[in-house]
């Protein structure tokens, strides 16, 4: 299992803050996004790669090539706008 978290406009578009997801195999962020996009609707819209999304694994920013492993906390969110 992995813990998924969604923030800001992404959270609002998907309508959920997060979920636990069984991990079929070790995959990278791009593959995980493809898996989520395949749910269709808002998921397709958000994860199909047309919108700028950032990902963090265990609370550290990562590139889309980073590998996700069982037990990881994986967060997706739009580019940050603090400060």
């Amino acid at each position: 299992m992995i813990q998924l978290l969604y923030f800001a406009s992404l959270r609002e578009a998907l309508g959920i803050e997060g979920e636990a997801l069984p991990l079929p195999e070790v995959l990278n962020i791009s593959a995980l996004m493809a898996l989520l996009a395949a749910r269709g609707g808002a998921w397709q819209e958000q994860f199909a790669g047309t919108r700028p999304l950032r990902a963090a694994i265990n609370q550290a920013l990562v590139a889309n090539s980073a590998l996700v492993q069982a037990g990881d906390e994986v967060a997706f969110f739009p580019p940050v706008t603090g400060g």
Partner: protein, 150 residues
């Protein structure tokens, strides 16, 4: 270093005074205070709501400060970032840096702000007369950060 993510307002003057008086070898304290502007791209702002990623926010700010400490001879750093709903002219963020000489404090303070703007997981949602909308990241913030790699 002091890092705080909080709903409550802060007293910038008191934080600067603390950095000064706790560091008698400090000749300089450089600080940045960000406030909610009353207008954004011509629209009157009624309120601004800041969301963040609890846990990651503090780690991210700590990592940014650590990078600044490795890069410049600075004495101490305080970062306070507010979350929740703010009004125009409310303070959003404070970055204050003490150092023996001013150049280091100026560089480190601006570096921390540039990285905070592009890496720390905060998101702003603005409420104006036309409704609510999430702010888009600014390209100028990315280029401000890129400068530090040159």
């Amino acid at each position: 270093m002091t890092v705080s993510v909080q709903q409550a307002d802060f007293d910038a003057g008191e934080e600067i005074r603390r950095l000064r008086l706790e560091n008698p070898e400090a000749g300089a304290v450089v600080s940045f205070v960000g406030q909610v502007r009353d207008l954004n791209q011509g629209e009157e702002v009624a309120s601004l709501t800041l969301e963040h990623y609890p846990g990651m926010t503090e780690k991210s700010l700590t990592a940014i400060i650590t990078q600044a400490q490795q890069r410049w001879a600075i004495l101490d750093v305080t970062v306070i970032h507010r979350i929740g709903t703010l009004q125009p002219m409310d303070q959003i963020v404070l970055v204050a840096v003490s150092s023996a000489h001013r150049g280091e404090a100026f560089n480190a303070c601006e570096f921390i702000m540039d990285y905070l703007k592009t890496e720390a997981p905060f998101w702003k949602k603005e409420t104006t007369s036309s409704g609510e909308h999430w702010l888009a990241a600014r390209d100028s913030d990315q280029s401000a950060k890129q400068r530090w790699h040159e």
